[in-house]
């Protein structure tokens, strides 16, 4: 098809958002008869790529929440300010920030605060228990992962390897059984008992 300089200019203006057809172009695209522009192989390959992305997303959704990820999500969902949550839970702003970044052991938060947390954010006890355990595991095991990742940082292509390792670590957290040290396990059981009492 012959290309006209005026059509080219108008197309560019359309693509840059300076010109609109008020939906007429989009409707036309839908009405056009579709041929076999994509080969069977191209179709297969694209479906495989899209399925891989769907799988990745599903895996990411299966990763269990920590206290930090839960707080970040719920704060965005409900448009809450950190101060609102920290005030309701009865903890200071600094402690809240550390909780949201999973940088503080949940054992350092009182049972009374966890009870407030449950009530204010409407978290079932079972889910809270799981999140506290997951967060404690993260606090206990994360330093050893970080040490491993640090070895790759300064090497050539280290960024890519570090990314791959981060993904692997995330997956590992979601699937692995990470036994807590006995002392932590004991303290955790006591805390959970107190919260559910």
């Amino acid at each position: 098809m012959k290309r006209d300089p005026v059509d080219i200019l108008i197309q560019m203006a359309f693509l840059e958002g300076n010109v609109t057809t008020h939906g007429l172009y989009e409707e036309t695209v839908l009405k056009k008869k579709v041929g076999d522009e994509a080969s069977k192989e191209a179709r297969r390959n694209l479906i495989a790529r899209l399925e891989a992305v769907l799988n990745e997303k599903a895996q990411a959704q299966n990763v269990r929440d920590t206290i930090g990820s839960f707080l970040k999500n719920i704060r965005l969902e409900r448009s809450l300010q950190p101060q609102e949550i920290s005030a309701q839970v009865g903890i200071g702003g600094n402690i809240y920030r550390m909780l949201e970044e999973d940088r503080i052991s949940p054992l350092k938060i009182s049972a009374a605060s966890w009870k407030n947390f449950r009530l204010f954010l409407g978290v079932p006890m079972e889910k809270l228990e799981d999140m506290i355990r997951r967060t404690l595991q993260l606090i206990v095991f994360q330093p050893s992962f970080k040490t491993t990742l640090a070895r790759y940082k300064d090497k050539k292509g280290g960024g890519k390897k570090a990314d791959a390792l981060k993904r692997a670590a995330r997956e590992l957290y979601s699937k692995a059984k990470l036994p807590l040290p006995e002392k932590d396990e004991r303290e955790l059981s006591e805390l959970l008992k107190e919260i559910s009492a």
């Binding site: 012959k2 080219i8 203006a13 694209l46 899209l50 997303k57």
Partner: protein
């Protein structure tokens, strides 16, 4: 092919259902490749890549999509992503040297329809656009906002009569004359006859912004 609704495709993709990927590809792969290649004259291999990117972006962002009016909302959303990807490709092309050669090719094809002054006007706008892209690219490392040099096109189109404006906008995007006729009060036959004339009028108006070229 089984007919699926957009709502069904969206639901499948949100649930991570593999059928959703196949349905999305059946709905859009060939359609958009054809669109990129025939309307925007993008080489077929590049068109395929663009469409792959579009459909990957659809899956990545499916959670953020919301139906607000009808089932057709999804199509408009996909088309917005498509338009943005085509725009990025065009910007990239404009920054490369090959683009002006392509444009020169189209000028040769249309040498009989436009005067040298008129062609120089279109060339100037494109050069300015390319220049503003280069500046934006250097300042922001690419991918920034619209460089804005094409605003003049919109302004000149607005100064035309409504039917002329609709005709030029829609024909540039390959909307059939029969469809344009419904919105202009003119028959498809009349629009076909007037099209070349309206283009000339548009370029003449555009040339008023470039008095320095009048003496060519």
């Amino acid at each position: 092919m089984v007919k699926v609704t957009n709502r069904q495709v969206v639901e499948e993709l949100r649930k991570g259902d593999r059928n959703g990927a196949a349905h999305l590809v059946d709905l859009y792969q060939s359609r958009l490749i054809s669109e990129a290649a025939s309307v925007f004259h993008i080489p077929v291999l590049d068109s395929e890549e663009i469409v792959n990117d579009v459909l990957l972006a659809v899956i990545q962002g499916i959670e953020s999509f919301q139906f607000s009016k009808s089932d057709g909302d999804f199509h408009f959303w996909v088309m917005t992503i498509f338009r943005n990807r085509v725009r990025d490709h065009m910007r990239h092309q404009t920054l490369s040297e090959g683009w002006m050669a392509n444009f020169a090719e189209s000028e040769k094809e249309n040498a009989e329809e436009y005067t040298e002054t008129e062609l120089e006007v279109t060339r100037s706008i494109l050069r300015q656009y390319g220049e503003s892209l280069r500046i934006a690219d250097q300042n922001e490392g690419g991918g920034g906002k619209s460089p804005g040099k094409l605003e003049r096109i919109g302004e000149v189109l607005d100064s035309l009569e409504t039917w002329e404006r609709v005709l030029l906008r829609c024909r540039a995007l390959d909307v059939p004359y029969e469809d344009i006729a419904k919105y202009t009060g003119k028959t498809a036959k009349q629009l076909k006859v007037y099209h070349a004339r309206v283009k000339k009028k548009f370029v003449k108006l555009l040339a008023q912004y470039y008095p320095e070229l009048a003496g060519i």
